[in-house]
Protein backbone atom coordinates (compact mmCIF):
# COMPACT_ATOMS: atom_id res chain seq x y z
CA UNK A 1 0.00 0.00 0.00
CA UNK A 2 2.83 2.36 0.95
CA UNK A 3 4.58 1.45 -2.27
CA UNK A 4 1.45 2.14 -4.24
CA UNK A 5 1.20 5.59 -2.71
CA UNK A 6 4.75 6.43 -3.54
CA UNK A 7 4.17 5.36 -7.14
CA UNK A 8 1.15 7.59 -7.29
CA UNK A 9 3.29 10.41 -5.96
CA UNK A 10 5.86 9.80 -8.69
CA UNK A 11 3.18 9.90 -11.37
CA UNK A 12 1.80 13.10 -10.00
CA UNK A 13 5.29 14.54 -9.95
CA UNK A 14 6.00 13.53 -13.51
CA UNK A 15 3.03 15.61 -14.55
CA UNK A 16 3.63 18.43 -12.15
CA UNK A 17 7.31 19.07 -12.54
CA UNK A 18 7.30 20.54 -16.06
CA UNK A 19 4.24 22.56 -15.18
CA UNK A 20 5.95 23.93 -12.10
CA UNK A 21 9.07 24.78 -14.05
CA UNK A 22 6.98 26.62 -16.56
CA UNK A 23 4.89 28.35 -13.91
CA UNK A 24 7.89 29.57 -11.96
CA UNK A 25 9.51 30.86 -15.12
CA UNK A 26 6.42 32.85 -16.00
CA UNK A 27 5.42 33.90 -12.50
CA UNK A 28 8.60 35.51 -11.34
CA UNK A 29 10.52 37.14 -14.10
CA UNK A 30 12.72 38.74 -11.45
CA UNK A 31 14.39 35.40 -10.77
CA UNK A 32 14.43 34.21 -14.32
CA UNK A 33 17.24 36.51 -15.34
CA UNK A 34 19.50 35.34 -12.48
CA UNK A 35 20.45 38.86 -11.60
CA UNK A 36 24.13 39.45 -11.08
CA UNK A 37 25.89 41.13 -9.40
CA UNK A 38 24.02 39.84 -6.36
CA UNK A 39 24.34 40.17 -2.61
CA UNK A 40 22.92 37.40 -0.43
CA UNK A 41 23.04 36.99 3.33
CA UNK A 42 24.09 33.54 4.54
CA UNK A 43 23.11 31.73 7.76
CA UNK A 44 25.91 33.42 9.70
CA UNK A 45 24.58 36.84 8.71
CA UNK A 46 27.52 37.42 6.40
CA UNK A 47 26.61 39.08 3.10
CA UNK A 48 28.22 37.35 0.16
CA UNK A 49 28.60 39.37 -3.06
CA UNK A 50 29.10 37.81 -6.45
CA UNK A 51 29.70 39.74 -9.67
CA UNK A 52 28.75 36.83 -11.92
CA UNK A 53 27.51 33.26 -11.53
CA UNK A 54 30.35 31.30 -9.92
CA UNK A 55 32.24 28.95 -12.21
CA UNK A 56 34.62 27.34 -9.75
CA UNK A 57 32.79 26.15 -6.65
CA UNK A 58 34.18 24.14 -3.73
CA UNK A 59 31.70 22.31 -1.48
CA UNK A 60 32.65 21.51 2.11
CA UNK A 61 29.74 19.15 2.86
CA UNK A 62 28.14 16.15 1.13
CA UNK A 63 24.67 17.68 1.47
CA UNK A 64 25.78 20.84 -0.33
CA UNK A 65 27.41 18.80 -3.09
CA UNK A 66 24.14 16.94 -3.59
CA UNK A 67 22.23 20.21 -3.81
CA UNK A 68 24.66 21.68 -6.34
CA UNK A 69 24.18 18.64 -8.57
CA UNK A 70 20.41 18.81 -8.06
CA UNK A 71 20.53 22.35 -9.37
CA UNK A 72 22.28 21.16 -12.51
CA UNK A 73 25.45 23.03 -11.56
CA UNK A 74 27.63 19.99 -10.86
CA UNK A 75 29.87 21.10 -13.69
CA UNK A 76 30.95 24.14 -11.67
CA UNK A 77 32.28 22.03 -8.78
CA UNK A 78 36.08 21.90 -8.68
CA UNK A 79 36.50 20.43 -5.19
CA UNK A 80 34.46 18.36 -2.72
CA UNK A 81 35.05 16.48 0.54
CA UNK A 82 36.12 12.87 0.67
CA UNK A 83 32.62 12.02 1.95
CA UNK A 84 30.86 13.42 -1.13
CA UNK A 85 29.73 10.22 -2.86
CA UNK A 86 26.30 11.21 -4.20
CA UNK A 87 25.69 11.45 -7.10
CA UNK A 88 28.31 9.12 -8.52
CA UNK A 89 29.82 11.97 -10.52
CA UNK A 90 30.81 13.65 -7.23
CA UNK A 91 33.20 10.88 -6.22
CA UNK A 92 35.41 11.61 -9.22
CA UNK A 93 36.02 15.26 -8.24
CA UNK A 94 39.21 16.48 -6.55
CA UNK A 95 39.07 16.02 -2.74
CA UNK A 96 39.85 18.86 -0.36
CA UNK A 97 39.80 16.78 2.86
CA UNK A 98 36.89 15.99 5.15
CA UNK A 99 34.01 17.99 6.58
CA UNK A 100 35.74 18.69 9.89
CA UNK A 101 39.25 18.82 8.46
CA UNK A 102 39.20 20.65 5.11
CA UNK A 103 42.66 21.48 3.81
CA UNK A 104 42.75 25.26 3.37
CA UNK A 105 45.81 25.20 1.15
CA UNK A 106 44.28 22.67 -1.22
CA UNK A 107 41.12 24.75 -1.46
CA UNK A 108 43.10 27.89 -2.26
CA UNK A 109 45.09 25.98 -4.89
CA UNK A 110 41.83 25.21 -6.70
CA UNK A 111 41.25 29.00 -6.99
CA UNK A 112 37.50 28.81 -6.35
CA UNK A 113 35.27 31.85 -6.78
CA UNK A 114 32.82 30.48 -4.19
CA UNK A 115 33.09 28.07 -1.23
CA UNK A 116 29.90 26.49 0.13
CA UNK A 117 30.09 25.50 3.78
CA UNK A 118 27.99 24.67 6.85
CA UNK A 119 28.09 26.30 10.26
CA UNK A 120 27.67 23.11 12.25
CA UNK A 121 30.19 20.83 10.52
CA UNK A 122 33.02 22.91 9.13
CA UNK A 123 35.53 24.53 11.50
CA UNK A 124 34.93 28.26 11.72
CA UNK A 125 38.57 29.30 11.77
CA UNK A 126 39.26 27.52 8.48
CA UNK A 127 36.32 29.23 6.81
CA UNK A 128 37.57 32.53 8.20
CA UNK A 129 41.04 31.82 6.83
CA UNK A 130 39.53 31.32 3.37
CA UNK A 131 37.62 34.58 3.67
CA UNK A 132 40.75 36.45 4.70
CA UNK A 133 42.41 35.24 1.52
CA UNK A 134 39.49 36.79 -0.33
CA UNK A 135 37.44 33.73 -1.25
CA UNK A 136 33.72 34.31 -0.68
CA UNK A 137 32.22 31.64 1.61
CA UNK A 138 28.49 31.01 1.81
CA UNK A 139 27.40 29.13 4.94
CA UNK A 140 24.15 27.22 5.31
CA UNK A 141 22.79 25.55 8.43
CA UNK A 142 19.31 24.17 7.76
CA UNK A 143 17.81 22.83 10.99
CA UNK A 144 14.63 21.29 9.60
CA UNK A 145 13.11 20.02 6.39
CA UNK A 146 11.58 23.36 5.45
CA UNK A 147 14.94 25.06 5.88
CA UNK A 148 16.50 22.47 3.56
CA UNK A 149 13.98 23.38 0.85
CA UNK A 150 14.67 27.07 1.36
CA UNK A 151 18.40 26.37 1.23
CA UNK A 152 17.93 24.74 -2.18
CA UNK A 153 16.18 27.87 -3.41
CA UNK A 154 18.87 30.15 -2.02
CA UNK A 155 21.68 28.11 -3.51
CA UNK A 156 19.86 28.18 -6.84
CA UNK A 157 19.81 31.95 -6.61
CA UNK A 158 23.48 32.05 -5.71
CA UNK A 159 24.63 29.68 -8.44
CA UNK A 160 22.67 31.33 -11.20
CA UNK A 161 20.03 28.61 -11.33
CA UNK A 162 17.20 30.34 -9.51
CA UNK A 163 14.39 28.83 -11.57
CA UNK A 164 15.71 25.34 -11.21
CA UNK A 165 16.12 25.88 -7.47
CA UNK A 166 12.53 27.00 -7.01
CA UNK A 167 11.20 24.16 -9.12
CA UNK A 168 13.22 21.47 -7.34
CA UNK A 169 12.31 22.85 -3.91
CA UNK A 170 8.65 22.94 -4.86
CA UNK A 171 8.78 19.36 -6.14
CA UNK A 172 10.41 18.21 -2.88
CA UNK A 173 7.78 20.05 -0.81
CA UNK A 174 5.09 18.27 -2.74
CA UNK A 175 6.69 14.87 -2.23
CA UNK A 176 7.08 15.60 1.49
CA UNK A 177 3.38 16.50 1.72
CA UNK A 178 2.37 13.32 -0.07
CA UNK A 179 4.55 11.21 2.22
CA UNK A 180 2.72 12.32 5.33
CA UNK A 181 0.17 9.92 6.78
CA UNK A 182 -3.54 10.51 6.33
CA UNK A 183 -4.89 12.63 9.14
CA UNK A 184 -7.11 9.79 10.41
CA UNK A 185 -4.04 7.73 11.37
CA UNK A 186 -4.53 8.37 15.05
CA UNK A 187 -2.16 5.71 16.37
CA UNK A 188 1.32 7.05 16.90
CA UNK A 189 3.88 4.28 17.21
CA UNK A 190 6.88 4.86 19.49
CA UNK A 191 9.85 5.07 17.16
CA UNK A 192 13.51 4.87 18.05
CA UNK A 193 16.07 6.08 15.54
CA UNK A 194 19.54 4.83 16.41
CA UNK A 195 22.74 6.01 14.77
CA UNK A 196 24.88 3.38 16.45
CA UNK A 197 24.00 -0.05 17.82
CA UNK A 198 27.02 -0.75 20.04
CA UNK A 199 26.96 1.46 22.03
CA UNK A 200 23.30 2.28 21.45
CA UNK A 201 23.12 5.95 20.50
CA UNK A 202 19.71 7.32 19.60
CA UNK A 203 18.62 10.46 17.76
CA UNK A 204 16.91 12.74 20.26
CA UNK A 205 15.01 15.99 19.89
CA UNK A 206 16.45 18.59 17.55
CA UNK A 207 17.72 16.10 14.97
CA UNK A 208 16.46 15.55 11.43
CA UNK A 209 15.56 12.00 12.40
CA UNK A 210 13.30 13.31 15.16
CA UNK A 211 11.54 15.50 12.60
CA UNK A 212 11.18 12.61 10.14
CA UNK A 213 9.52 10.47 12.83
CA UNK A 214 7.07 13.23 13.72
CA UNK A 215 6.25 14.03 10.10
CA UNK A 216 5.65 10.35 9.40
CA UNK A 217 3.14 10.18 12.25
CA UNK A 218 5.22 8.56 14.97
CA UNK A 219 6.53 9.76 18.30
CA UNK A 220 10.21 9.70 19.14
CA UNK A 221 10.84 7.17 21.92
CA UNK A 222 14.17 8.88 22.65
CA UNK A 223 12.44 12.13 23.59
CA UNK A 224 12.37 10.95 27.22
CA UNK A 225 16.15 11.38 27.25
CA UNK A 226 17.58 14.85 26.90
CA UNK A 227 20.33 15.77 24.51
CA UNK A 228 20.46 15.42 20.75
CA UNK A 229 22.20 12.07 20.69
CA UNK A 230 21.55 10.31 24.02
CA UNK A 231 23.35 7.08 24.71
CA UNK A 232 21.03 4.32 25.89
CA UNK A 233 21.79 1.38 28.09
CA UNK A 234 20.04 -1.89 27.27
CA UNK A 235 17.76 -1.12 30.19
CA UNK A 236 17.06 2.33 28.78
CA UNK A 237 15.98 0.68 25.54
CA UNK A 238 13.73 -1.74 27.43
CA UNK A 239 12.19 1.18 29.32
CA UNK A 240 11.59 3.17 26.12
CA UNK A 241 9.65 0.25 24.53
CA UNK A 242 9.87 1.35 20.88
CA UNK A 243 7.35 -0.21 18.47
CA UNK A 244 9.61 0.40 15.48
CA UNK A 245 13.38 0.87 15.41
CA UNK A 246 15.25 2.46 12.53
CA UNK A 247 18.97 1.83 12.34
CA UNK A 248 20.73 4.60 10.47
CA UNK A 249 23.95 2.73 9.91
CA UNK A 250 27.05 4.55 8.79
CA UNK A 251 28.75 1.28 7.99
CA UNK A 252 27.07 -1.22 5.72
CA UNK A 253 26.09 -3.73 8.35
CA UNK A 254 24.81 -2.31 11.59
CA UNK A 255 23.05 -4.83 13.72
CA UNK A 256 22.10 -5.03 17.35
CA UNK A 257 24.02 -7.52 19.40
CA UNK A 258 22.09 -10.71 20.18
CA UNK A 259 22.27 -9.86 23.89
CA UNK A 260 20.24 -6.74 23.06
CA UNK A 261 17.69 -8.23 20.65
CA UNK A 262 16.76 -11.00 23.05
CA UNK A 263 14.76 -8.45 25.06
CA UNK A 264 11.32 -9.29 23.68
CA UNK A 265 9.81 -6.74 26.06
CA UNK A 266 10.73 -4.32 23.30
CA UNK A 267 7.84 -4.53 20.80
CA UNK A 268 10.15 -3.78 17.86
CA UNK A 269 12.30 -6.83 18.69
CA UNK A 270 9.28 -9.02 19.38
CA UNK A 271 7.62 -8.14 16.06
CA UNK A 272 10.81 -7.91 14.05
CA UNK A 273 10.18 -4.22 13.31
CA UNK A 274 13.83 -3.22 13.00
CA UNK A 275 14.53 -1.39 9.75
CA UNK A 276 17.94 -0.43 8.41
CA UNK A 277 18.26 2.85 6.54
CA UNK A 278 21.31 4.26 4.82
CA UNK A 279 22.84 6.60 7.38
CA UNK A 280 23.67 9.19 4.70
CA UNK A 281 19.99 9.45 3.92
CA UNK A 282 18.95 10.76 7.30
CA UNK A 283 21.97 12.70 8.54
CA UNK A 284 22.63 14.81 5.46
CA UNK A 285 20.42 17.90 5.25
CA UNK A 286 19.97 17.50 1.50
CA UNK A 287 17.26 16.56 -1.01
CA UNK A 288 17.35 12.87 -0.10
CA UNK A 289 15.85 13.63 3.33
CA UNK A 290 12.55 13.46 1.46
CA UNK A 291 13.40 9.94 0.30
CA UNK A 292 14.09 9.09 3.93
CA UNK A 293 10.74 10.57 4.94
CA UNK A 294 9.01 8.42 2.32
CA UNK A 295 10.70 5.28 3.65
CA UNK A 296 9.95 6.08 7.30
CA UNK A 297 6.38 6.91 6.41
CA UNK A 298 5.94 3.67 4.47
CA UNK A 299 7.34 1.65 7.37
CA UNK A 300 5.01 3.29 9.87
CA UNK A 301 2.05 2.74 7.54
CA UNK A 302 3.05 -0.92 7.41
CA UNK A 303 3.16 -1.00 11.22
CA UNK A 304 -0.37 0.45 11.43
CA UNK A 305 -1.67 -2.08 8.93
CA UNK A 306 -0.17 -5.12 10.61
CA UNK A 307 -1.62 -4.04 13.91
CA UNK A 308 -4.93 -5.57 14.93
CA UNK A 309 -7.48 -2.89 15.62
CA UNK A 310 -7.00 -2.72 19.36
CA UNK A 311 -8.79 -0.42 21.76
CA UNK A 312 -6.95 2.87 21.99
CA UNK A 313 -5.79 2.10 25.54
CA UNK A 314 -3.48 -0.58 24.19
CA UNK A 315 -1.34 1.95 22.37
CA UNK A 316 1.92 2.30 24.29
CA UNK A 317 1.89 3.08 27.99
CA UNK A 318 1.07 -0.30 29.53
CA UNK A 319 3.27 -0.91 32.49
Amino acid sequence: MGRVRITVARLVLAGFLPALLLASAIDRPAFAADRFPLALKDDRGVTVRLAAPPRRVVSLAPSLTEIVFLLGRGGSLVGVTRFCNVPTAASGLPKIGGVSDPDVERIVALSPDLVLCTTDGNPRDKVRALEEIGIPCFALAPQDLDAVFTAIERLGFLLGAADRGRAEAEALRLRARLARPPSDAAEKPAVLFVVSTAPIIAAGEGTFMDELVRLAGGRNAAARFSGRYPRLSVEGLVAARPDVIFVAGMSDVERFLPEVTRWKEVPAFRDGAVITLDGDLVTRPGPRLVTALERVSAALAEWRRSRPKAPAAGAGGER
Binding site: A240, G249, E254, R255, L257
Partner: protein
Protein backbone atom coordinates in the same frame (compact mmCIF):
# COMPACT_ATOMS: atom_id res chain seq x y z
CA UNK B 1 52.98 -2.06 58.90
CA UNK B 2 52.03 1.22 60.36
CA UNK B 3 48.55 1.90 61.57
CA UNK B 4 47.72 -1.76 62.20
CA UNK B 5 45.81 -2.79 65.30
CA UNK B 6 42.30 -1.76 66.12
CA UNK B 7 41.64 0.66 63.32
CA UNK B 8 42.59 -1.79 60.58
CA UNK B 9 40.56 -4.62 62.07
CA UNK B 10 37.48 -2.44 62.23
CA UNK B 11 38.04 -1.39 58.65
CA UNK B 12 37.21 -4.73 57.02
CA UNK B 13 33.56 -5.07 58.04
CA UNK B 14 33.07 -1.44 57.06
CA UNK B 15 34.65 -1.99 53.65
CA UNK B 16 32.68 -5.18 53.02
CA UNK B 17 29.47 -3.38 54.00
CA UNK B 18 30.39 -0.52 51.69
CA UNK B 19 30.81 -2.89 48.76
CA UNK B 20 27.52 -4.67 49.47
CA UNK B 21 25.75 -1.35 49.90
CA UNK B 22 27.18 -0.09 46.61
CA UNK B 23 25.98 -3.22 44.80
CA UNK B 24 22.51 -2.88 46.33
CA UNK B 25 22.29 0.79 45.41
CA UNK B 26 23.43 0.02 41.89
CA UNK B 27 20.80 -2.70 41.55
CA UNK B 28 18.11 -0.28 42.74
CA UNK B 29 18.97 2.36 40.13
CA UNK B 30 17.83 2.40 36.52
CA UNK B 31 15.25 3.60 34.02
CA UNK B 32 12.88 0.62 34.44
CA UNK B 33 10.99 1.18 37.69
CA UNK B 34 11.25 -1.88 39.96
CA UNK B 35 9.41 -1.97 43.26
CA UNK B 36 11.02 -3.41 46.36
CA UNK B 37 8.45 -6.17 46.32
CA UNK B 38 9.15 -7.06 42.69
CA UNK B 39 12.86 -7.20 43.48
CA UNK B 40 12.22 -9.44 46.47
CA UNK B 41 10.08 -11.79 44.38
CA UNK B 42 12.66 -11.87 41.61
CA UNK B 43 15.46 -12.83 43.96
CA UNK B 44 13.72 -15.20 46.36
CA UNK B 45 10.76 -16.57 44.43
CA UNK B 46 12.26 -16.75 40.95
CA UNK B 47 9.54 -14.77 39.19
CA UNK B 48 10.08 -14.23 35.47
CA UNK B 49 8.82 -10.81 34.40
CA UNK B 50 10.51 -7.76 32.96
CA UNK B 51 11.49 -6.45 36.39
CA UNK B 52 13.10 -9.74 37.35
CA UNK B 53 14.97 -10.06 34.10
CA UNK B 54 16.23 -6.47 34.22
CA UNK B 55 17.38 -7.00 37.78
CA UNK B 56 19.02 -10.39 37.30
CA UNK B 57 20.48 -10.18 33.82
CA UNK B 58 21.32 -6.49 33.55
CA UNK B 59 21.77 -4.77 36.89
CA UNK B 60 23.38 -7.44 39.07
CA UNK B 61 25.85 -8.59 36.40
CA UNK B 62 26.81 -5.00 35.79
CA UNK B 63 27.33 -4.34 39.49
CA UNK B 64 29.35 -7.55 39.83
CA UNK B 65 31.44 -6.62 36.82
CA UNK B 66 32.05 -3.21 38.38
CA UNK B 67 33.14 -4.81 41.66
CA UNK B 68 35.52 -7.20 39.90
CA UNK B 69 36.99 -4.52 37.65
CA UNK B 70 37.39 -1.99 40.46
CA UNK B 71 38.90 -4.58 42.78
CA UNK B 72 41.30 -5.87 40.17
CA UNK B 73 42.44 -2.38 39.16
CA UNK B 74 43.04 -1.40 42.79
CA UNK B 75 44.97 -4.62 43.57
CA UNK B 76 47.05 -4.18 40.48
CA UNK B 77 47.72 -0.58 41.50
CA UNK B 78 48.94 -1.69 44.93
CA UNK B 79 51.32 -4.16 43.28
CA UNK B 80 52.74 -1.66 40.80
CA UNK B 81 53.23 0.96 43.51
CA UNK B 82 55.24 -1.53 45.57
CA UNK B 83 57.14 -2.89 42.59
CA UNK B 84 58.18 0.51 41.28
CA UNK B 85 58.47 2.01 44.76
CA UNK B 86 56.49 4.92 43.38
CA UNK B 87 53.22 6.26 44.81
CA UNK B 88 52.21 7.60 41.39
CA UNK B 89 52.40 4.24 39.65
CA UNK B 90 49.15 2.79 38.36
CA UNK B 91 48.15 -0.32 36.39
CA UNK B 92 48.42 1.56 33.15
CA UNK B 93 51.87 3.01 33.66
CA UNK B 94 53.83 0.26 31.93
CA UNK B 95 52.11 0.29 28.57
CA UNK B 96 49.53 -2.28 29.63
CA UNK B 97 46.58 -0.10 28.68
CA UNK B 98 48.12 0.97 25.40
CA UNK B 99 48.80 -2.60 24.36
CA UNK B 100 45.31 -3.72 25.33
CA UNK B 101 43.76 -0.80 23.48
CA UNK B 102 45.69 -1.53 20.29
CA UNK B 103 44.68 -5.19 20.49
CA UNK B 104 41.01 -4.45 21.09
CA UNK B 105 40.77 -1.64 18.55
CA UNK B 106 42.27 -3.84 15.86
CA UNK B 107 39.33 -6.17 16.30
CA UNK B 108 36.66 -3.53 16.88
CA UNK B 109 37.63 -1.16 14.09
CA UNK B 110 39.10 -3.21 11.30
CA UNK B 111 37.65 -6.70 11.59
CA UNK B 112 34.00 -7.60 11.25
CA UNK B 113 31.59 -6.32 13.86
CA UNK B 114 30.58 -9.89 14.60
CA UNK B 115 34.04 -10.71 15.88
CA UNK B 116 33.24 -9.27 19.31
CA UNK B 117 34.05 -12.53 21.17
CA UNK B 118 37.59 -12.05 19.87
CA UNK B 119 37.84 -8.63 21.45
CA UNK B 120 38.75 -9.52 25.05
CA UNK B 121 41.21 -12.10 23.81
CA UNK B 122 43.02 -9.65 21.53
CA UNK B 123 43.00 -6.92 24.18
CA UNK B 124 44.56 -9.31 26.63
CA UNK B 125 47.14 -10.46 24.07
CA UNK B 126 48.02 -6.84 23.35
CA UNK B 127 48.41 -6.07 27.05
CA UNK B 128 50.55 -9.14 27.66
CA UNK B 129 52.76 -8.46 24.64
CA UNK B 130 53.45 -4.83 25.53
CA UNK B 131 53.99 -5.70 29.20
CA UNK B 132 56.49 -8.39 28.23
CA UNK B 133 58.14 -6.02 25.76
CA UNK B 134 58.60 -3.33 28.39
CA UNK B 135 59.94 -5.85 30.86
CA UNK B 136 62.48 -7.28 28.43
CA UNK B 137 63.57 -3.82 27.27
CA UNK B 138 64.10 -2.69 30.86
CA UNK B 139 66.00 -5.80 31.87
CA UNK B 140 69.76 -5.72 32.25
CA UNK B 141 72.24 -8.23 33.42
CA UNK B 142 72.10 -6.65 36.86
CA UNK B 143 68.33 -7.06 37.03
CA UNK B 144 65.33 -4.83 36.55
CA UNK B 145 65.47 -1.40 38.12
CA UNK B 146 62.22 0.46 38.82
CA UNK B 147 63.56 3.56 37.09
CA UNK B 148 64.24 1.75 33.84
CA UNK B 149 60.86 0.01 33.99
CA UNK B 150 59.03 3.31 34.38
CA UNK B 151 61.07 4.94 31.62
CA UNK B 152 60.50 2.09 29.18
CA UNK B 153 56.83 1.91 30.13
CA UNK B 154 56.32 5.60 29.49
CA UNK B 155 58.10 5.45 26.12
CA UNK B 156 56.24 2.35 24.96
CA UNK B 157 52.98 3.86 26.26
CA UNK B 158 53.53 7.08 24.31
CA UNK B 159 54.27 5.10 21.17
CA UNK B 160 51.16 2.97 21.59
CA UNK B 161 49.07 6.10 22.21
CA UNK B 162 50.19 7.43 18.85
CA UNK B 163 49.17 4.12 17.27
CA UNK B 164 45.74 4.39 18.96
CA UNK B 165 45.20 7.90 17.63
CA UNK B 166 46.17 6.79 14.14
CA UNK B 167 43.79 3.84 14.32
CA UNK B 168 40.87 5.99 15.48
CA UNK B 169 41.58 8.53 12.72
CA UNK B 170 41.65 5.86 10.02
CA UNK B 171 38.64 3.97 11.35
CA UNK B 172 35.40 3.76 9.40
CA UNK B 173 33.26 6.60 10.82
CA UNK B 174 30.43 4.37 12.03
CA UNK B 175 32.74 2.51 14.37
CA UNK B 176 34.32 5.53 16.04
CA UNK B 177 31.71 6.11 18.81
CA UNK B 178 32.07 2.57 20.10
CA UNK B 179 35.84 2.83 20.13
CA UNK B 180 35.77 6.16 21.93
CA UNK B 181 33.39 4.90 24.60
CA UNK B 182 35.59 1.89 25.13
CA UNK B 183 38.67 4.10 25.43
CA UNK B 184 36.87 6.16 28.09
CA UNK B 185 36.04 3.10 30.13
CA UNK B 186 32.64 1.50 29.96
CA UNK B 187 30.70 -1.06 31.95
CA UNK B 188 27.72 -0.77 29.59
CA UNK B 189 27.72 -4.37 28.46
CA UNK B 190 27.96 -6.03 31.84
CA UNK B 191 26.38 -9.34 30.95
CA UNK B 192 26.61 -12.59 32.91
CA UNK B 193 28.86 -13.86 30.12
CA UNK B 194 31.43 -11.15 30.63
CA UNK B 195 31.43 -11.57 34.38
CA UNK B 196 32.14 -15.27 33.81
CA UNK B 197 34.98 -14.46 31.40
CA UNK B 198 36.62 -12.02 33.79
CA UNK B 199 36.15 -13.90 37.05
CA UNK B 200 38.87 -16.59 36.68
CA UNK B 201 41.52 -14.04 35.72
CA UNK B 202 40.68 -11.76 38.62
CA UNK B 203 40.49 -14.64 41.10
CA UNK B 204 43.82 -16.06 39.96
CA UNK B 205 45.50 -12.65 39.93
CA UNK B 206 44.33 -11.54 43.35
CA UNK B 207 45.21 -14.84 45.00
CA UNK B 208 48.70 -14.81 43.46
CA UNK B 209 49.28 -11.23 44.61
CA UNK B 210 48.11 -12.11 48.10
CA UNK B 211 50.65 -14.95 48.21
CA UNK B 212 53.31 -12.44 47.20
CA UNK B 213 52.36 -9.96 49.93
CA UNK B 214 55.33 -10.66 52.24
CA UNK B 215 57.66 -10.17 49.29
CA UNK B 216 55.95 -6.88 48.45
CA UNK B 217 56.44 -5.70 52.04
CA UNK B 218 60.15 -6.43 51.76
CA UNK B 219 60.48 -4.82 48.31
CA UNK B 220 59.43 -1.52 49.88
CA UNK B 221 62.61 -1.61 51.96
CA UNK B 222 64.75 -1.53 48.81
CA UNK B 223 66.34 -4.32 46.76
CA UNK B 224 69.41 -4.62 48.94
CA UNK B 225 67.57 -4.87 52.23
CA UNK B 226 65.05 -7.25 50.72
CA UNK B 227 67.83 -9.49 49.49
CA UNK B 228 69.47 -9.48 52.90
CA UNK B 229 66.17 -10.44 54.44
CA UNK B 230 66.31 -13.59 52.35
CA UNK B 231 64.05 -12.63 49.44
CA UNK B 232 64.82 -13.80 45.91
CA UNK B 233 64.23 -10.28 44.69
CA UNK B 234 64.20 -10.86 40.93
CA UNK B 235 61.77 -13.73 41.12
CA UNK B 236 59.31 -11.79 43.27
CA UNK B 237 59.56 -8.77 40.98
CA UNK B 238 58.93 -10.81 37.86
CA UNK B 239 56.01 -12.64 39.43
CA UNK B 240 54.48 -9.39 40.71
CA UNK B 241 54.94 -7.69 37.39
CA UNK B 242 53.31 -10.46 35.38
CA UNK B 243 50.45 -10.96 37.84
CA UNK B 244 49.62 -7.26 38.03
CA UNK B 245 49.73 -7.01 34.23
CA UNK B 246 47.43 -10.02 33.95
CA UNK B 247 44.92 -8.35 36.26
CA UNK B 248 45.03 -5.00 34.47
CA UNK B 249 45.05 -6.51 30.98
CA UNK B 250 42.07 -8.79 31.56
CA UNK B 251 40.10 -5.91 33.06
CA UNK B 252 40.88 -3.58 30.19
CA UNK B 253 39.78 -6.27 27.77
CA UNK B 254 36.30 -6.38 29.29
CA UNK B 255 35.65 -2.80 30.33
CA UNK B 256 38.02 -0.50 28.47
CA UNK B 257 40.32 2.05 30.04
CA UNK B 258 38.97 3.08 33.42
CA UNK B 259 41.42 5.50 34.88
CA UNK B 260 42.12 6.71 38.41
CA UNK B 261 40.87 3.65 40.34
CA UNK B 262 44.22 1.88 40.28
CA UNK B 263 46.01 5.09 41.21
CA UNK B 264 43.99 6.45 44.11
CA UNK B 265 42.25 3.50 45.72
CA UNK B 266 45.53 2.01 47.02
CA UNK B 267 46.24 5.29 48.81
CA UNK B 268 42.76 5.34 50.29
CA UNK B 269 43.18 1.78 51.48
CA UNK B 270 46.56 2.62 53.01
CA UNK B 271 44.93 5.37 55.03
CA UNK B 272 42.44 2.82 56.36
CA UNK B 273 44.58 -0.25 57.07
CA UNK B 274 48.20 0.81 56.78
CA UNK B 275 50.78 -0.36 54.27
CA UNK B 276 51.23 -4.04 55.20
CA UNK B 277 50.25 -5.89 52.06
CA UNK B 278 48.37 -8.74 53.73
CA UNK B 279 45.83 -6.18 54.85
CA UNK B 280 46.33 -3.64 52.10
CA UNK B 281 45.58 -5.98 49.19
CA UNK B 282 42.15 -7.19 50.38
CA UNK B 283 41.23 -3.71 51.62
CA UNK B 284 42.16 -2.18 48.27
CA UNK B 285 40.11 -4.82 46.46
CA UNK B 286 36.98 -4.07 48.52
CA UNK B 287 37.43 -0.31 48.35
CA UNK B 288 38.16 -0.38 44.62
CA UNK B 289 35.07 -2.49 43.96
CA UNK B 290 32.82 -0.25 46.05
CA UNK B 291 34.25 2.90 44.46
CA UNK B 292 33.75 1.70 40.90
CA UNK B 293 30.24 0.37 41.50
CA UNK B 294 29.24 3.70 43.06
CA UNK B 295 30.84 5.63 40.21
CA UNK B 296 28.94 3.53 37.68
CA UNK B 297 25.67 4.06 39.53
CA UNK B 298 26.35 7.77 39.43
CA UNK B 299 27.21 7.57 35.73
CA UNK B 300 23.86 5.94 35.03
CA UNK B 301 21.72 8.04 37.34
CA UNK B 302 23.22 11.51 37.08
CA UNK B 303 22.97 12.12 33.38
CA UNK B 304 19.58 12.80 31.82
CA UNK B 305 21.19 12.32 28.38
CA UNK B 306 21.42 8.56 28.62
CA UNK B 307 24.64 7.23 30.12
CA UNK B 308 28.06 8.68 30.86
CA UNK B 309 31.17 6.58 30.45
CA UNK B 310 32.19 5.47 33.92
CA UNK B 311 35.82 6.44 33.28
CA UNK B 312 34.77 10.09 33.21
CA UNK B 313 33.04 9.71 36.58
CA UNK B 314 35.92 7.92 38.30
CA UNK B 315 38.21 10.77 37.38
CA UNK B 316 35.68 13.47 38.35
CA UNK B 317 34.79 11.83 41.67
CA UNK B 318 38.19 10.31 42.30
CA UNK B 319 40.34 13.39 42.59
CA UNK B 320 38.30 15.18 45.29
CA UNK B 321 37.86 11.90 47.20
CA UNK B 322 41.61 11.41 47.15
CA UNK B 323 42.27 14.92 48.43
CA UNK B 324 39.75 14.40 51.22
CA UNK B 325 41.47 11.20 52.30
CA UNK B 326 44.90 12.82 52.26
CA UNK B 327 43.74 15.81 54.31
CA UNK B 328 41.87 13.69 56.82
CA UNK B 329 44.92 11.52 57.24
CA UNK B 330 47.12 14.57 57.71
CA UNK B 331 44.91 15.82 60.55
CA UNK B 332 45.08 12.52 62.39
CA UNK B 333 48.83 12.07 62.11
Amino acid sequence: MTGGGKRSRAAFPVLAAALLGAVALSAATGPVPISFRAAFDAIFRGTDDTAARVLLSLRFPRALLGALVGGALASSGVAFQALLRNPLADPYILGVSGGAAVGALTVALFLSADASPLLPLCAFAGAALSAMGVFLLARRRSGVSPERLILMGVVVGAFLNAVIMLMVTLAPPGKIPGALYWLMGDLGLGTPGRVAVLFPYVALGTVLLYLLSRGLDLLLLGDHAAFQAGLSVERVKTATYLTASLLAGSVVAVSGLIGFVGLIVPHGARVLVGSGHRRLLPAAFLLGGAFLVLSDTLARAASPAGELPVGAVTALAGAPFFLYLLRRNGRRA
